[in-house]
Assembly symmetry: C2
Homo-oligomer: 139 residues x 2
């Protein structure tokens, strides 16, 4: 799958999975809502109730900025399976204008955020590599 198609599928997806590395080297994975802006993927810790543990993703990113993000499609018809993986480098957004811009992208994509903007940290992931796979290319 070429990069144009990878971008198209990621931009259209509503959920992705963010894998990070813990301080001790073990992997960690959580589902995320996100918006894609050119070579930048933004996501926020929102108002959905969280246990403290779930903010482990932020500690992980501070200690190990490289992350991996997966968007995939599962169906019982396995000829329709595909996935796109983004490998990139994450940072917690501290600049106010950059944060406001990212929240604008998220609110534009998710009406749910318009009523209740994310209150937690915003994470920005700079894409370093796109990888894509599909069971039946061109089907």
């Amino acid at each position: 799958m070429n990069e144009v198609e990878c971008r198209h599928r990621v931009a259209a997806a509503h959920v992705a999975r963010l894998a990070t590395t813990r301080a001790d080297g073990r992997p960690h994975v959580v589902p995320i809502c996100f918006a894609l802006d050119d070579d930048n993927l933004v996501t926020a810790v929102d108002g959905k109730p969280k246990r403290t543990l779930d903010l482990l993703r932020l500690d992980n990113i501070r200690a190990h900025p490289p992350v991996s993000v997966l968007v995939d499609c599962y169906e019982n018809d396995w000829s329709r399976l595909w996935w796109v993986r983004i490998d990139g480098v994450a940072a917690i957004v501290v600049d106010r204008a950059e944060r406001a811009y990212a929240l604008g992208l998220l609110s534009a994509k998710y009406p749910q955020y318009q009523a209740s903007p994310p209150s937690g940290a915003v994470v920005s992931i700079t894409v370093s590599e796109w990888s894509g796979w599909e069971a039946a290319p061109g089907k």
Copy 2:
């Protein structure tokens, strides 16, 4: 979400995401088909076309056995969101009887495997921790 409910939701799911740690410490994530057998989750590298790179998951497991597996539900109604994460330790199955047993579990769950059993490596993940979250507990 208690452990009984976590197990129930994972057993019923048809796809999960497996996060591993690469030799250089960066995380990696792929979608997997799997079967749950008590405190063991099994998955196989199957006949779906793969690029060599995708077998990176096996190299990662050999170098860093700890893995993290996510099952989640995304819907536009965010009161229905939930996820379950399994943290565990993975190993590549070398024993022939253990491999046959795992493939039997996978074929029982996925009719697609009955016509075409997985030809690649079988991975067994021993669960060390269940974590679960739902937006509206008890809804």
